[in-house]
């Protein structure tokens, strides 16, 4: 096959490209330039972002002796991921930009362009197992549960997964690093990226404040109904958050307060005791699980613990009921359903959480 390897400049995508090449594919490496240079007088002339990453990716391609190009997807990324991220916070949700990037950039813009340019698939360094079967793609957790990325791939539609190859799913991160070193790839010991790539400072609250501005409002206690503090922008809060609440009045019952809800219209942050965070069910839309009612394991955060649940799909909406109350679930996050199987947890599908309830 002719495959396009998306090379971030990190160790995973470099080894993924190497394995694709060793598997006999004709591999072309592409680095996606995603961030936009701040507007300057010479904007339009250059957009050299993530220069070091592009260089690392290019060096890896050199070592693998595969052609290498940089694709500028900064505009698409700004619209489909960065704007979406800020808008989602502004609506009182807690988004996950990595899922969006997979859904809309890597396995949409990049995959479609690759297919149009005569490639058969896009190879990435995601830690997840993917098998193409007659019944469609089967996605499973990585054997390395600590590095498993099946969660951020679960909202991909089957036709998107059909064009993907994840060569790393059967390896641990340690094995990938060791293999990179053996192959003479300079990125073998490059640290893992952890922050949101377009918030290099790591300070999301500050980034949001710069972008969304000041929107002061009250912090209301759900028990007393009274205003017990204030804030500069409800978007800076996440359901389940305890720290960073500048409460001016102690809670009537003396118990710690957690963020229960965010109302972006009135800029109100509602807080209450921990038990009020419990939910029994959620709804998600759109959903890539469209099958019959099913007992499964549900996961609501990228590195969250899966919990037993019953899921059903009807009228474009996924409903997930939890066997035991679940705490701290935000709208805007994804719920991902797994079927525990001997071969490894299989992804049934996932959806974007639109409602939670039953507390």
């Amino acid at each position: 096959m002719r495959v396009l390897a998306a090379m971030s400049g990190g160790v995973d995508s470099a080894v993924a490209a190497a394995r694709a090449r060793d598997a006999g594919h004709e591999v072309v490496g592409v680095h996606l330039a995603l961030s936009r240079q701040p507007a300057t007088a010479r904007e339009g002339a250059r957009g050299c972002c993530t220069l070091d990453d592009a260089r690392d990716a290019r060096r890896a391609a050199d070592v693998l002796e595969i052609p290498f190009y940089v694709w500028d997807l900064a505009e698409r990324f700004a619209e489909d991921v960065i704007d979406d991220f800020a808008d989602s916070y502004a609506r009182g949700q807690t988004p996950n930009p990595c899922l969006r990037c997979n859904e809309r950039i890597k396995f949409a813009a990049v995959l479609e362009r690759a297919l149009a340019l005569d490639f058969d698939a896009v190879v990435t360094g995601h830690h997840a197992r993917l098998t193409q079967t007659a019944a469609g793609p089967v996605l499973r957790r990585s054997v390395d549960l600590a590095k498993d990325q099946s969660y951020v791939l679960a909202t991909l539609r089957p036709e998107q997964l059909a064009g993907a190859i994840f060569p790393l799913g059967d390896s641990t991160k340690a094995q990938v690093r060791a293999e990179a070193a053996e192959r003479g790839l300079g990125v073998a010991d490059k640290p893992d990226s952890t922050d949101i790539c377009f918030v290099p400072s790591g300070n999301t609250a500050k980034w949001l404040h710069e972008r969304l501005g000041s929107k002061p409002g009250p912090v209301v206690d759900v028990v007393s109904g009274g205003v017990i503090g204030g804030h500069d922008g409800a978007y800076a809060f996440t359901v389940g958050q305890r720290r960073g609440l500048a409460l001016t009045t102690p809670a009537v019952d003396g118990r710690p307060r957690y963020v229960l809800g965010i109302d972006p219209v009135t800029s109100t942050v509602t807080v209450g005791p921990a038990d009020r965070l419990d939910i029994r069910y959620l709804q998600a839309s759109p959903s890539t699980y469209t099958g019959p009612p099913i007992e499964c394991q549900a996961q609501v955060r990228a590195h969250g613990t899966p919990v037993a649940a019953k899921a059903g799909y009807a009228a474009g909406r996924l409903t997930v009921e939890f066997d035991a109350p679940l705490r701290g679930v935000s709208r805007g996050q994804a719920v991902v359903l797994y079927a525990p199987e001997v071969e490894g947890d299989r992804v049934l599908g996932g959806g974007w959480i639109s409602e939670t309830g039953g507390s």
Partner: protein
């Protein structure tokens, strides 16, 4: 492989390789006083005379540098500093929007850090700087102008500038003019003396010389503050131990390129026209950017800068590369990101047109086979890139 990117760099001429090898095998710092030093110095001075003769300059006007970027920076910054310090009113730097980044970014830096005021000289749709526009800009406030910089021939679209006319206008106001002639030498007749320019950038690797060699031709009496300080080897304007092998190779290539210029230019223009005709036959919608190919002296003979409506230049480059045809999207930064060319934007092209463009540039080693390889590859490549272009332009959004 069909190498159609001579505007980026050219294969080194055997005469240059021989000159470099000879000099490399010989010890001697051109500033040393002993026999070895004198021998090295002789090589340098003979090279200087060769280059001066080839470019119709005086040997004392040749200041060796590390290449085009250094020469442009030295001219822009050095002349600005000297003129500004002689008369603080002189703040204006007049440049065209189609200059190379080595000029543009030096000018931006002067504006951002050194109190310069940038004035953009208008260009027409062919990318030609208008002498009337320069006259107007100078006449607006002649005493406040530090210098003018306009390239001899554009590196992307190949438009040749009316340097002699522009220099005459500048001279009328007593303002020095610098020209980046990196693309011109070897492709066009270049006379420094007749051009009337006060400073001129040349570089070796664009005409078969070694990388990292070049010169700033600077008229005697034109003040230029050094960028680097040290031994003052080059007229106290440029310091650093001279690269004797580089200088020798640069001179050898310069002599051959200038001697053969009329023959090379005629031969390359024929190939370029065949390229244009062949591509047009396969892709009738193709648009030639810049000056018409048949207008005498208006365009570099080896340059074909083409827009392929509906395609993206970077997709097309990749597809051609896979078929063994090497070209350029024009303006690539160090990360290799293709952005709409600032040259085309300055010529009032829209961003989509700019993104759909590719530069093919022929040179002294180009053959009919190279052109044929492109003509064979272009049809299917354009067709495929259009499918990709249509997708990236109008991908259905899913929430």
């Amino acid at each position: 492989m069909a190498y159609l990117d001579h505007a980026a760099t050219t294969p080194v001429h055997p005469a240059a390789i021989a000159a470099v090898m000879d000099a490399l095998a010989t010890v001697g710092n051109a500033s040393s006083l002993h026999a070895s030093g004198r021998r090295a110095r002789r090589t340098v001075e003979e090279s200087r005379e060769t280059i001066a003769a080839a470019l119709d300059a005086r040997p004392s006007e040749v200041i060796f540098t590390s290449g085009g970027t250094e020469s442009d920076n030295l001219a822009l910054k050095g002349m600005f500093w000297a003129r500004h310090s002689a008369d603080p009113r002189r703040r204006r730097v007049l440049v065209s929007g189609i200059e190379h980044h080595a000029v543009l970014d030096a000018a931006y830096w002067l504006a951002a850090e050194q109190g310069a005021a940038l004035v953009w000289l208008p260009v027409d749709a062919a990318g030609r700087v208008q002498p009337a526009g320069l006259y107007e800009a100078l006449a607006a406030d002649p005493d406040s102008t530090a210098l003018v910089s306009v390239m001899w021939a554009n590196n992307e679209v190949g438009t040749v500038q009316p340097i002699a006319e522009l220099a005459e206008v500048a001279r009328g106001f007593g303002v020095p003019l610098h020209t980046d002639a990196v693309q011109a030498v070897g492709s066009l007749p270049v006379s420094f003396a007749e051009s009337g320019a006060d400073a001129m950038t040349v570089t070796g690797h664009k005409f078969g010389g070694p990388y990292g060699t070049g010169a700033l031709l600077l008229k005697r009496g034109v003040a230029c503050t050094p960028l680097t300080h040290g031994g003052g080897q080059e007229r106290e304007v440029r310091s650093g131990t001279l690269d004797v092998p580089g200088v020798a190779g640069f001179a050898a290539a310069c002599r051959v390129a200038v001697d053969e210029q009329p023959i090379r230019a005629a031969r390359v223009a024929v190939l370029r026209d065949e390229l244009l005709a062949g591509v047009r036959e396969r892709v009738p919608e193709v648009v030639l950017n810049g000056a018409p190919a048949d207008a005498p002296g208006a365009r570099l003979p080896g340059n074909a800068h083409l827009s392929f409506p509906g395609s993206e230049g970077d997709s097309l480059l990749m597809l051609l590369d896979a078929r063994g045809v090497e070209c350029s999207t024009g303006s690539a930064c160090s990360a290799g990101i293709a952005r709409p060319s600032h040259v085309l934007l300055a010529m009032n092209a829209d961003a989509e047109h700019a993104r759909s463009s590719l530069r093919f540039s022929l040179g002294h080693t180009s053959t009919r086979d190279d052109v044929d390889a492109l003509i064979a590859a272009i049809g299917p490549s354009v067709e495929r890139s259009r499918r990709a272009g249509a997708l990236s332009g109008a991908l259905p959004r899913r929430s």
